[in-house]
Amino acid sequence: MDFATLIQLLDSSIRLATPLLLACLAGLYSERAGIFDIGLEGKILISAFFSASVAYSTGNVWMGLLAGIVSSMVFALIHGVASITFRGNQLISGVAINFLASGVTVVVSDSWFSLGGRTPQLEGSGRFQNITLPFAEQLQGVPFLGPIYHDLISGHSILVYAAFLIVPLTWWLLYRTRFGLRLRAVGENPAAVDTAGISVVRMRYSAVLICGVLCGIAGAYLSTSLSAGFVREMSAGRGFIALAALIFSKWRPWYALMACLLFGLLDATGSLFQNIELLGISVPVQFMQALPYILTVVILAGFVGKAIPPRAGGEPYVKER
């Protein structure tokens, strides 16, 4: 593999890792607060649809992003009402959210656009444009570092940079603020948090809503930046890969970044090369697609370090009466 191909592969990994990263961090907030969320996929999908539709009808991609975030937050709120207020089963609620998104996006897009579950192509200001970082053009000629800066680091949409900035932000919020301490505590031992006079319900709702915002950005990125419009089922299991990445990273922000980059790299390798020769054996592309899931099972099995979820995860909190 030559240098240019390598740069191309890494560049495409970054693009493909971005939605995973956003969704993974979204899940991180929710699960750290004790609310399991297997509805990441559905929230990405609903946001991808509303972002693309609103960006198309207003011609303004920022309005699209806003619509996507709002729609994803509405879904997050449904999940919150079911799992926090009515103490329902969080996994079942997540399953329902995923189906609701698959159904609603196609039904409504058929009704609005009659394009068989798609939105019209987005053009110009309806999409996030790629940003050229300062001096990228001038430095392009510099050997080795020039192409890395020009082709790999520069030239992504603003959402990619935002996603990578959210990683340190999340770390800081979780480990260096009072809010983060309470958020983590509420996922480990809600009764203790309650005793300290902090509302468990409010903490969990805020976590679920943050999760909605981040999934919303992930969906908007899919339909207005990575591609130019919405296609049915365009989230294509990314919500579940993000969930896998979350477990793989053991619910920690920096590791989440690395897990998502790894899974993005696998995805990019699978789409760039049809056949991969490794040590003389040709690896089928389907194996590359299944690898994130296989790795997650291995991690879950505890053969390579143990992934221990937040202790109160999945359990509704009942105040003693």
Partner: protein, 362 residues
């Protein structure tokens, strides 16, 4: 201690949940600009108004009975088997291998062998998540989700590289030989008015037998008692000498086997070859079916029938009301899962209060 009579728990609350789901779905139809009443009547007429409709309704119901029972058995041991989709797909692989490898003389023997193959492959696909849950404490929901994706990748690989008919582009196996053709409703009961191509086949009877079998297993055997005890209270069950590893493994193997059985209906009975997605979401419908049916075989049967009507009715709806797409049934399905599964307390708490007040008054 019971806050309300049993009939309210097993009939009234699911009914209210269903009505709520249908009302919200009706609002979506209204938003699109169609009449919910008309949509509803098209769906009912399309699904049970003719022998043609019944043929499809019961065919879908057969799939959903298998996956619904699968989820229900796991629920009894308080496990959430979300991997029906993958287990059924691998069950399809078992059916294909059985049907393609031996020149079966008659469909009855082929059906027995295929049933064993489907159940064995489905159970095998559930075995690894079950073992990891029992031995290593890996969350079964997450592992079964992951195994769904692994199954679909595996199936694509095998269909493209191993089973594909040479010279053909389609990623599917060869058509199964004629003697493995399962009699459909037309072959068995032509006087009922089924058409020659109806997908409803003898697997429906296998599904009914599975309902009876699960009922016997859960409520009439020692093993069933142990499964229920374990699901009710794990510590009490362990104290009573029940081995958790054994219960988790056995209930998940049964669950996976039941999911795998779907393949005798859709792969052997209908398609007569293994295609790239033989399950088509039925594994997930099983979750809704088990929730609505309160994990009881009779409830599962009725809920599967209801979802069969929804699926066939949804297909008819697309013909008669082109502005309502087929995915409307995904919306209905999602709302049923949401209201019966996750928002159950929203209905249960006020109903309980009403019954308490009635009891005080009376």
């Amino acid at each position: 201690m019971d806050k309300m009579p049993k009939w309210a728990d097993i009939a009234l609350i699911p009914f209210i949940n269903l009505v709520l789901a249908l009302v919200v779905s009706g609002l979506v139809v209204l938003y699109i600009g169609e009449s919910p009443w008309e949509a509803m009547s098209v769906m009912v007429r399309g699904s049970i108004g003719s022998a043609y409709g019944w043929g499809y309704t019961l065919y879908y119901a057969t799939n959903f009975i298998f996956t619904g029972l699968a989820v229900a058995v796991a629920f009894h041991a308080r496990m959430f088997n979300i991997g029906g989709e993958g287990q059924a797909a691998i069950g399809g692989l078992g059916v294909a291998i059985v049907c393609l490898s031996v020149p079966w003389p008659h469909w009855t023997i082929a059906l027995l062998a295929a049933t064993a193959g489907a159940a064995a492959f489905g159970a095998a696909w559930a075995a690894i998540p079950a073992y990891l849950q029992a031995k290593r404490g890996s969350h079964i929901v997450i592992t079964t989700i992951m195994f769904n994706f692994i199954a679909s990748a595996l199936l694509v690989y095998l269909l493209v590289n191993v089973f594909r008919v040479p010279g053909s582009m389609a990623p599917e196996t060869a058509r199964f030989a004629d003697p493995t053709h399962l009699p459909n409703a037309y072959d068995m009961a032509p006087w009922l008015g089924f058409s020659r191509s109806t997908p409803l086949n003898v697997s429906f009877l296998v599904a009914l037998a599975a309902c009876v079998g699960v009922w016997l297993l859960i409520w009439r055997t020692r093993l069933g008692y142990e499964i229920r005890a374990y699901g009710h209270s794990q510590t009490a069950a362990v104290y009573a000498g029940i081995n958790p590893l054994r219960i988790i493994m056995i209930s998940m193997l049964i669950s996976g086997g039941l999911s795998g059985l779907l393949a005798i209906n859709s792969v052997m009975g209908e398609a007569e070859r293994l295609v790239i997605d033989p399950v088509q979401g039925a594994g997930f419908v099983g979750i809704a079916v088990a929730l609505m049916g309160r994990s009881h075989p009779v409830g599962v049967f009725l809920a599967a029938l209801l979802f069969g009507m929804l699926y066939q009715g949804g297909a008819e709806l697309e013909f008669e009301m082109p502005s309502v797409s087929r995915e409307m049934l995904l919306v209905i399905q999602a709302l049923v899962i949401m209201f019966t599964g996750a928002l159950d307390n929203m209905v249960r708490m006020p109903v309980e209060r009403i019954f308490l007040r009635l009891r005080k008054g009376g």
